[in-house]
Symmetry: C2
Subunit: 556 residues, 2 copies
């Protein structure tokens, strides 16, 4: 037997939905040549990552082996697959990048923010063309999803063929982009497939997925029955949906205006790369102001309630000179991603206050998912007929359920979360290593580790407030004047109804008067002691123990 | 005409779901005698209220008129109706409180935390008994909901009869507590009803509500088909559901163990007040440890993913000596309240990692809502036949939709959000005043105002981090030594790869060397200038502008 092996190692995306980053390797253990599939972001929230801008997979393992990295392949242009390309490009040693034209266009935009030129990304042709990458030959196999030019990857190695689905649905009428071509997939699989590494997002959805084509007639009906201004939001990257919305608007005699940079960016990229050829002419916001509202349709960003996106701006009042009012209609042609409910509901209530009728996603009429549902996942297994099924792109519950589904269908299922290195060689898949993984935060312009304690400190300040204590000590370690406090994020008055600041300062003074030389002469001791005084005293007064910064100034 | 009037004024609960507090008044304008219906809490979140413990309606308006307050009436024992009773009791001048026995038991517990004795709450009998409260006569009219002894209120005044529904559903088989008695409600309404002030929570649910009785058989089937330990969570106050779960467990030969203080408190209160008479014997967690897992059922708190509740604790590993594992089943017999999705999903994934099978609320089989759906609201209008419908207990979108529904049924609908004083006198309802309302935060042991800026400062620290700057100036306003910085919640290294602290201190030094006497001698000027230096310098280094506390120590 050869002692070379084929490995699969998710660094991100297996155990969460977001920040996809999947490594494949082939070679002797520890010397495998590597390819990376996708390099996406996840999004922060106030609960766990306040102030953070973006979240990436911790790619340290790969960075330390960048000399073995043959290339980065990008399956499609969703942020959770392409969003980190610019931010991590240099750390990975500026690898070759391959993507289809539309995806390449978006990836190049990401790289340009870091001054990296367009030639960093090579435009890939579709199957049957294959790219030789060390021991791998990789082909881009078109598949339908909620963004143009999504691709599965056919990854051939001396150990056989792996199919990495990317994000997908089985849509035979996707309106924009290629329809799912079952015959082509069957043909690709006909030579035998060792492993199907497969999207798991919708494994809990029991009915077969619906085509993008089904929402058009419903949206058209809704637009036709609306009298005031019609505003619709969807995911900016769902170009087919944006087109469906625009077509419905035009059919109803409305001018179309796109609001939101991401929306315009995606439509431009689609037109430029030829995936979208007959998008209606749009009007600018300036011109839109002068169009009677019953003849106007806005298609806007912010379907997830993002505060700075167009939907939220419109819900708060005038935006780009446009104002919604009684009799207007606002459509969410989107689903609310778990965790975003409050923001979306906030917008709906703001529109309600303006008298705008909101049509949300609860009817299911105006949105279809871009991911394969459970019966579609079964169908994909039947088409590809792999020996092994490796669920990816899902939280633990999705991966587990998808693994069970594979086993029900009498295939080998492998539950491999981030950091699990699986050998796909030999008779059965085998976990051969656990690699340290985690999250990297883009915080302002700096990349920090999730476990650096920086965010923990911020969360503590948010929960507990902050007190700065200042003490000046003279050459003899005697306090010079009284200590004082500066409070931030804390109430002015506590239990005793005296100003909290005064109470704290009084307690500090009393402590310093009692404190001995041993404490006063030692910075660590005095800091620790003053911190304790503040926390105890504040807890008595306001039932809260603040974070404390102690500043000891010594005159020497 | 009399110049006395009947007024309705929501202080909380109308424009949000939570912190219910509804004022009714009767008398000459500005001299109305007042009653308050419910005094509940809302729950904080990290996004908008970090560190806050509870949220109440701002009752300042009522506090300033407490001499006119006849009584507080509590419709039922949910936290959003009774939760603030202890916290606000003294501020309202220790009003008389009326509630039915179970609700009174819970309210007394809230008051006891503030040292208020049981006699503060008078136990009310149900209709046809009425309580004379100044110009009002008020009766408690039983209605079904997801907690025992929920009541509507019949509020009679010289201007006629108002029916305040409280939270309700039309359940003829509620298992615990009174069934909805349509004949009784018809009879009460038969003399004519001026206004129906009505729960709006489920106005967007198009199908008629389902009875509590429908979930029992489904739960029993599920428990019977489970082989390992069975754990179920629901709202602690949903006593009927807890009983249904327990009965299903007993029927399947399992011992029942309740985990979570709130759960045990509710069951105790139910038994003590006679609303629950045949609850199965339970075992303690200590005894549960020794019972074979296939013979054990846990009923636990934490259906919303609350971090410290039993569900979350179990998902993280051993809790009270009990550990879940492969083959066990965990049932959410509850719905996830919008905003809690992430926490619930986190728990589900943790259970998935343990190999526990989770049954969530997606099937709809194991939970029914406690609120009236749209057809039920219509039926209620038909039964009560009021002149006016005043939607309450809902966000703006619910109130608006419910108002429309009333108008579709050719009644007068009044959309009155918090602070809107509506006169229900005369021929048509009329908004007669807008009262300043808002939110009060319980923060540790202190009540603070939502607009005090305290929470805003905490959020800013969470988003931006915090820097303390210390400068010591001598008698001549000259810097004594170098300024220094303490950082909290900020990265150590920035763009220049030098420690951020050193870069900031260097920039401060340079600034101070250049600064003139006019700046150095003026505390405000120097603070403002140093803050600007820090924010600018940090922004260059890390792309973030921290919050800054400047401490200037002057030797005088």
């Amino acid at each position: 037997m050869s002692n070379e092996r084929l490995i699969y190692l998710p660094l991100g995306g297996a155990g969460e939905i977001g920040m996809n980053a999947y490594v494949y390797g082939y070679g002797r253990p520890g010397e495998e040549r590597l390819i990376l599939v996708d390099l996406g972001v996840a999004f922060p929230d106030m609960d766990t990552t306040p102030g953070v801008d973006l979240i990436f997979a911790d790619i340290t393992w790969l960075e330390e082996r960048k000399d073995r990295l043959e290339a980065l392949l990008i399956t499609h242009a969703h942020e959770d697959h392409v969003g980190a390309v610019g931010h991590l490009y240099e750390r990975l040693g500026a690898p070759k990048i391959y993507a289809r034209p539309f995806t390449a266009n978006i990836a190049r935009g990401k790289l340009a923010e870091y001054g990296v030129g367009d030639n960093a990304v090579t435009v890939a042709n579709v199957w049957p063309e294959q790219i030789q990458l060390g021991p791998f030959r990789v082909g881009f196999l078109p598949i339908s999803h909620s963004i143009p030019e999504s691709s599965g990857l056919v990854i051939d190695s001396p150990e056989g063929r792996v199919i990495h689905t990317g994000d997908f649905k089985l849509d035979e009428t996707p309106l924009v982009g290629e329809a799912f071509d079952e015959a082509l997939w069957r043909e690709v699989a006909s030579t035998g497939v060792r492993a199907l590494v497969c999207d798991s997002t919708n494994v809990f959805s029991g009915h077969a997925g619906r085509s993008e084509a089904v929402v058009g007639p419903e949206i058209t009906r809704l637009v036709n029955s609306s009298t005031g201004m019609f505003v619709a939001t969807t995911f900016a990257s769902n170009v087919a949906r944006v087109k469906t919305l625009a077509d419905a608007g035009v059919a109803a005699g409305r001018s179309i205006c796109l609001l939101g940079r991401a929306m315009r960016r995606m439509i431009e990229a689609s037109i430029k790369t030829g995936v979208l050829s007959d998008f209606p002419t749009v009007v600018s916001p300036e011109d839109a102001k002068n169009i009677p509202r019953e003849n106007l349709m806005l298609i806007v960003t912010g379907s997830q309630g993002e505060r700075r996106a167009a939907s939220a701006q419109l819900s708060r009042g005038k935006h780009m000179g446009l104002t919604l009012k009684e009799g207007d209609t606002f459509l969410f042609s989107s689903k609310t991603i778990p965790g975003n409910e409050k923001e979306v509901i906030r917008i709906i209530n703001s529109f309600s206050e303006l008298g705008v009728d909101v049509v949300d996603d609860s009817s299911g009429l105006y949105h279809v998912s871009g991911h394969a549902n459970r019966p579609d996942l079964e169908r994909m297994q039947d088409i590809v007929n792999p020996q092994i099924v490796v669920p990816m792109h899902g939280e633990h519950r999705h991966l587990r359920e998808h693994t069970k589904l594979a086993e029900q269908k009498r295939r080998k299922g492998v539950l491999a979360v981030n950091g699990t290195m699986v050998s796909l060689s030999g008779n059965a898949p085998e976990v051969v290593d656990y690699v340290e993984t985690g999250r990297t935060y883009l915080d302002g312009s700096v990349q920090i580790g999730a476990l650096d304690g920086i965010i923990r400190d911020r969360i503590r300040m948010a929960l507990n407030g902050h007190v700065t204590v200042t003490v000046v000590l003279d050459e003899e370690d005697e306090p010079l004047g009284d200590p004082w406090c500066d409070l931030m994020g804390l109430p002015e008055l506590g239990r005793s109804r005296a100003p909290l600041q005064e109470v704290l300062e009084e307690d500090l003074s009393q402590f310093l008067n009692r404190a001995g030389q041993a404490t006063l002469s030692d910075d660590d001791k005095i800091e620790e002691a003053l911190r304790r005084v503040i926390r105890q005293s504040a807890n008595d007064e306001i039932g809260k123990k603040p974070e404390v910064t102690v500043v000891v100034s010594r005159l020497t």
